[in-house]
């Protein structure tokens, strides 16, 4: 078990042995702490995946501050504008006028004409009952050659219905316009990080004659619109699923939800499901499974009994990963997770049965602010938060699984673990960079 050094505050309330962890929320909802790990993407980063789109945020200055500097750190200020809501707007109720005239003013002043505008409204619009359909209708009348879509920065809704992250990933594809379906075209949707091209997922589909598109492949707005022709949308990220469901309803594109997994049997099952639905022959993947077995053995040989910690930002399936590593003899000593996703229920039960004392730490619980962030022995962390809370320079610097999917993806993750074990990183510097992989400085 992870041993913490020193400290006067005990960890009660911030950690629970997994056997006592409730599903889906193992910790009480109280005041929240936000640690310095910033590698996960926010709605600004995600929105910029739509090529030739301009983002306009309408909210109070305090809410604008984080997003405007996100854009600045991406050096993307020229694709980003703001409308500041002040007290008089709340008191006078002129929110619609401010939104319509503000967007108009900005678009008239831009030195270029964007193909699309992602207009982000906020909690204030929601609470004041702003007539957003009216606003969008007026803007579409005024700018008929620009596509507008509704995006949201309303974190007050994060505990009711779809979260802002889910809404954003759904909004990424809301601009797609109906066109003829091409049965040989498949999209992968819902990811901030592009899927690794070496994945057997992509290779299998390409070998079967499919064209695969992810939003990251679209270098202009016309290419992005081509995504509307895909017959299927594959999604493996739980927060992207709502977007796939919306596309199924709106454009008739079938959703193939194939959750990420680190369990070989589950990965195989996923591919069997996919090939069956697509009417493909299931290829022989024994070489892939053998490669994974070899990669696990090699990594175990290198890493040995070194304590391993995992956090929820590194992968959408931290429990699946922990289970796979523990099954293969790795010494997983702590998890950093605030809540469990539905996909992980089976893995949670397995871990509770086989490793009941495995500690699960909250990342937002207030004591995490002051509990010592160091360990008494060399520790390998998978994810930025795990690295931060254990104070280790040996960490795998990925978010959202790094785009590594399937057997090949797990092999690549194991290679990253070996590399992280052997080479120190500048944790302090690296984890404070926003939106890992999006080009932030």
């Amino acid at each position: 078990m992870l041993k913490r050094m020193g400290g006067e505050v005990d960890a009660t309330g911030a950690v629970v042995p997994i056997k006592n962890a409730d599903f889906p929320a193992p910790f009480k909802s109280e005041l929240e702490y936000s640690c310095s790990a910033r590698g996960t993407w926010n709605i600004v980063h995600t929105g910029f995946l739509v090529p030739e789109a301009h983002e306009i945020f309408a909210c109070a200055a305090g809410c604008l501050r984080g997003v405007v500097l996100t854009a600045a750190e991406m050096n993307a200020q020229d694709r980003f504008s703001t409308i500041e809501i002040r007290e008089n707007n709340v008191l006078e109720g002129d929110m619609e006028d401010l939104l319509i005239e503000g967007v108009t003013d900005i678009l008239n002043k831009l030195p270029y004409k964007p193909r699309a505008v992602l207009l982000y409204t906020s909690c204030i619009h929601h609470f004041i009952g702003c007539d957003l359909p009216l606003c969008y209708a007026r803007l579409r009348e005024r700018f008929p050659d620009i596509d507008f879509t509704d995006c949201y920065m309303n974190p007050i809704m994060r505990k009711s219905g779809l979260t802002p992250d889910q809404l954003m990933r759904r909004g990424l594809y809301a601009l797609l316009k109906q066109r003829d379906i091409d049965d040989s075209h498949i999209n992968i949707i819902g990811n901030n990080i592009a899927t690794d091209k070496d994945s057997e997922l992509i290779q299998m589909l390409e070998q079967a004659g499919y064209t695969i598109t992810e939003i990251h492949d679209c270098h202009n707005y016309d290419a992005y619109q081509q995504m509307a022709s895909a017959a299927f949308n594959i999604c493996y990220n739980p927060v992207g699923k709502a977007g796939g469901e919306e596309l199924e309803k709106r454009l008739g594109q079938k959703l193939l939800y194939l959750p990420l997994s680190y369990q070989p049997a589950e990965i195989l099952g996923t591919y069997e499901k996919m090939t069956k639905i697509l009417g493909m022959e299931m290829p022989d993947l024994s070489a892939k499974t053998d490669a994974l077995t070899a990669a696990l053995s090699h990594a175990k040989e290198v890493i040995g009994e070194t304590p391993i910690t995992i956090d929820y930002t590194a992968t959408m399936r931290p429990l699946s990963l922990a289970r796979a590593l523990l099954e293969h003899g790795f010494n997983v000593t702590a998890l950093y997770i605030d809540s469990f996703s539905g996909e992980e229920k089976g893995d949670l039960a397995w871990l509770q049965a086989h490793f009941p004392e495995l500690p699960v730490y909250a990342t937002v619980q207030v004591k995490m602010r002051v509990l010592p962030r160091e360990t008494c022995e060399k520790t390998l962390a998978i994810g930025q938060k795990a690295a931060y809370f254990t104070g280790t320079p040996y960490f795998v610097n990925i978010v959202e699984c790094g785009g590594y999917y399937g057997f090949s993806g797990f092999c690549k993750l194991l290679a990253l673990m070996e590399d992280a074990f052997l080479h120190e990183k500048d944790t302090r510097k690296l984890i404070q960079i926003k939106g890992l992989g999006c080009g932030c400085v």
Binding site: A61, C63, R65, G66, E84, I106, L110, M153
Partner: protein
Amino acid sequence: MRQTARIISTYTADVSGVNSALFELGGMTVMHDASGCNSTYNTHDEPRWYDHDSLVFLSGISEMEAIMGDDEKLISDIVSAAEQLKPRFIAVAGTPIPMMIGTDFKAVASVVEKRTGIPAFGFATNGMHTYVEGASMALAGIADRFVTEKMPRTADISVNLLGVTPLDFSVNRSAAHLRTVLEKYGISTVSNWAMGDDLDTLMQASAAHVNLVVSGAGMGAAKVLRERFGIPYVIGRPYGDWTETLVNSIRLAPKTGDNLSPQTDRANTSAVIIGEAVSAVSLANALKVETGIAFRAISATEARKIMFGTSDCIARDEDELLPLLEGAKYIIADPLYQPICPKSARFIRLPHEGFSGRIFRDEIPDMTEDISYITRQLV
């Protein structure tokens, strides 16, 4: 159109100003917000976050709690955290939705104080003002609550430095340098509000002869200390040779009892500085003293008339700023202003943590003693 920004950034908000001002004082600050304010604060507004475990948290207010006006959840969560962490004081600061639902922060603080026995403050910030307002409110709260005892004045002339946060002074040793520069003129510092000194030191503030308001964030505390102890204040930030003029005012103020805001004659301005009011005006005065060039200071944050010389003004929006920049020979401002500046002007980068956050932090100069970083660019 006012309130729109095609391209420029926005200043740190009032709620982060509260956090920043109280960061080193051993309290616990709670932002009553759904989410977002916490990561914005600790990423862009707080350079000390990684290395100092100050207690700044978020309430995580939900839609249902807002609709139902459920203050009890906020109060009980604060009480629970305070029992676990035992801060010296508790501060609760607001954001837009609490403002819309009319959260009574003073009442919340009062209940928290009764339940915990820990001094508590409620600050009705709403995320619609800049950090200057929030930090000023917070430091005034500290002065009002903790500086209650009239201490004997120090034998030699001394000051409290009011309004020192990384949002204006970054973390490049400017804050500490204020003290050493004043020492060279024989002026000691009783307390620094609030970088480098703890709450116990701030509680000695009534021993000072003068309050030196080095940023707008110090105004609230200056007024409290003036009212309670009769301590006059001088407004100005030490910059290069200008410090001598400030020091003369510091020596004069206790004799006359007047609050002072020394200015140079800066009529017929041909150049512009954009920034926080006290810093921008003080730098304009310093440049006038050292180069003879008259700069107009434009405050993009809240300011009071007393801070300004005759040519200075407030302008917050792009459309307000643009006409003021026309024809300027020099423009000194944060690099994120450059896209709206006329190309005919020579643009001199002066990064400001309160505007561009951490992006240009390594470039932020310490000009407390020497402003040649700017003067050598005025060719």
